[in-house]
């Protein structure tokens, strides 16, 4: 009896040491990751744009004297460069800068929130699937396969069509789209970790599942999963704006870039520069997120 307890203690110590080593290793990689990002001018540029977008979104009400939802119909479709309306006005006579500033709020939210939500659910499913053996994995993965069987946009459109238009429903349909791929990437990452020696060691040392998942798994799958998830934000922005463009996402009068493109579609032929402006914003913001994601992947060195 004595001996066995002693042994256990010993193992626990080993285990703790493992963990400590690993934490150290993690902080090291984290530092070099940040260093790499720091020295990447593209990452700087992208971050600058994103921070600018977040800043203008947060402070939008203080940056413009106009209302994003109501305008002066007498001033509709003013061209770019009109005094007081630098980017012109939309078909309802609303200031385009104001609409774009406020629209950025929705776009950012719809880029980040669904991905974050899907990350929680998909990540958890992936960890469970990857960690608890083949049977659990096949059940979860087979179920998720069904969602995988639809192109992301089709799935988003189908769910949004079923639930009806509106921001709230977009926040339901978009995460559903991303859960399956995130779960799959997570499960693969977990499986790779499972094959490593230290993981086996931790298992043999008798640590609880929760301990192992917390200390070993999450830390180690973080890089590949984070790198993958970072690629989804740009996609989420595009899908969300597509839904709004189809009239399935944000509904008027809320300013959102995709919805703005929808309502300005008729004005394309008379004020093309005004009408394509929201598209430029979607493009630039998605591009910034994609560039940053690229840099993150480079810095994490996870690109195959």
């Amino acid at each position: 009896m004595e001996i066995s307890i002693h042994k256990t203690n010993h193992k626990e110590k080993d285990f703790k040491r493992d963990v400590m080593d690993e934490i150290q290793e993690n902080t090291q990689t984290r530092r070099s990751f940040i260093q790499k990002l720091y020295s990447d001018p593209v990452a700087w540029g992208a971050t600058f744009w994103i921070v600018l977008m977040i800043g203008t979104a947060v402070f939008a009400p203080f940056l413009t004297p106009y209302s994003p939802v109501s305008g002066n119909i007498g001033n509709r479709l003013m061209p770019i460069g009109t005094p007081g309306h630098f980017l012109g006005t939309d078909e309802q006579g609303r200031d385009m800068i104001t609409r774009i500033l406020f629209g950025g709020r929705m776009t950012l939210l719809m880029g980040i929130v669904p991905v974050a939500a899907a990350c929680l659910v998909g990540g958890a499913l992936g960890v469970i699937a990857g960690y608890f053996g083949k049977a659990v994995q096949s059940i979860i993965m087979r179920c998720l396969d069904v969602f995988y069987a639809f192109p992301a946009l089709v799935l988003a459109i189908a769910i949004s069509a079923a639930l009806g238009p509106g921001v709230r429903n977009t926040f339901v349909s978009l995460p559903i789209v991303f859960i399956a791929p995130i779960a799959r990437v997570t499960a693969t990452a977990v499986q790779q970790i499972k094959g490593l020696e230290f993981f086996e060691a931790a298992r043999v040392s008798g640590a609880s599942h929760w301990m192992i998942i917390r200390f070993h798994l999450i830390r180690n799958i973080f890089r590949p999963v984070f790198a993958y998830v970072s690629t989804l934000i740009g996609i989420s922005i595009l899908v969300a704006s597509s839904l709004s463009f189809l009239g399935l996402g944000v509904t008027p009068p809320t300013a959102e870039w995709g919805a703005m493109l929808r309502s300005l579609q008729d004005a394309l032929y008379t004020q093309p520069t005004v009408a394509i402006a929201p598209g430029v914003m979607i493009f630039l913001t998605a591009l910034a997120f994609n560039l940053l994601s690229d840099s993150i992947q480079d810095a994490l060195d996870v690109r195959s």
């Binding site: 704006s241 189809l246 394309l268 493009f283 994609n290």
Partner: protein, 314 residues
């Protein structure tokens, strides 16, 4: 062949799941399908009769089994909104979508490959940077917006190409006319895959270039184009997989692009069916897209094994 068969067997549960999703989606839709079928001022017995014909009076599981057994036989019922058999609508729509999809796939595959090869072979040079930028632009650009911009530019301003539809009046059989109509939608739709594919080709090529055998090929005295052929064959594998996945993207993107160009395809059909709450069409459309996507993955798998001898063919 056995391998293909196995792959099919594996896909069966997924396909089954797709049917469940397709069936479930439309039943959580707001609005009752009966109201779309019968005018409310119709007499009660007419109403009952129509409900009976569409099986809407049965419990959901029974409706599902009914629908599935019909669907398996290719019978998706009558379109509620358009009052024609759904499979007739689908058959025509899928054909048109395939025309657009194949054109877009062709455009994106060729352009993506050429750009990717150029970038991969000129790593670090301006052309590489340009292609990388273009690639990222491709995955960041909203296809519908690109479509709108291209219509303004090429149809309205320059008047080079038609702005919508599939063919000019009375030119149904004219391939050149069809080509003129497909150019803008195909480019708008294929632009994102160009980005993805060119990036993939580049990465893949760079990996291949690093491998020993490339040096060995040079050591054999092979000429540049012969070596390039080896490089491409080797780089093709991941590219084919990605292209397969991008075909799925094309199916999705076609909903937006077809809507803008009034292209009479599956995407446009689905979009109008959603507006109409045309349940049989939505169900069949979603089922079709899901099934196509799954089949496409199988085909990609199969092509992969055909191209890569390292994948054992049993």
């Amino acid at each position: 062949m056995t391998r293909l068969f196995h792959r099919f067997l594996q896909a069966i549960p997924t396909l089954f799941g797709i049917t469940l999703v397709a069936f479930a989606l439309v039943h959580i839709m707001p609005g009752s399908p009966i109201d779309a079928l019968v005018p409310p001022d119709a007499s009660a017995d007419v109403r009952a009769q129509v409900i009976h014909i569409y099986g809407l009076d049965k419990p959901l599981p029974v409706q599902y089994v009914l629908w599935l057994t019909h669907a398996v036989r290719g019978d998706f019922g009558m379109s509620i909104g358009m009052r024609v058999p759904v499979n007739q609508l689908l058959a025509q729509a899928i054909q048109n979508t395939l025309i657009l999809g194949v054109a877009a796939a062709f455009f994106s595959f060729v352009t993506g490959t050429v750009l990717g090869v150029l970038a991969g072979l000129n790593q670090g040079k301006w052309i590489d940077r340009m292609v990388s930028t273009l690639g990222l632009a491709g995955v960041s650009i909203p296809a519908y917006w690109l479509a709108m911009v291209m219509v303004i530019l090429f149809s309205i301003q320059l008047g080079w190409l038609p702005s919508s539809g599939m063919h000019s009046q009375g030119q149904e059989g004219n391939v050149l006319d069809l080509l003129a109509h497909v150019v803008i939608p195909a480019i708008a739709l294929g632009f994102t895959p160009v980005g993805v594919i060119s990036r993939m080709v580049r990465t893949s090529l760079l990996q291949v270039v690093k491998q020993d055998f490339v040096l060995a090929l040079r050591a054999k005295g092979l000429m540049r184009r012969q070596i390039l052929w080896h490089l491409l064959r080797n780089a093709a594998l991941p590219v084919l997989t990605v292209t397969g996945l991008e075909l799925g993207y094309l199916l999705g993107g076609s909903i937006l692009v077809e809507t803008i160009f009034a292209w009479p395809g599956l995407g446009g059909l689905l979009n109008s069916a959603i507006g109409l709450r045309d349940i049989p069409v939505i169900q069949a459309g979603i089922l079709l897209i899901g099934t196509l996507f799954v089949l496409m993955n199988i085909v990609v798998d199969f092509v992969n094994s055909a191209v890569d001898p390292r994948i054992q063919r049993t």
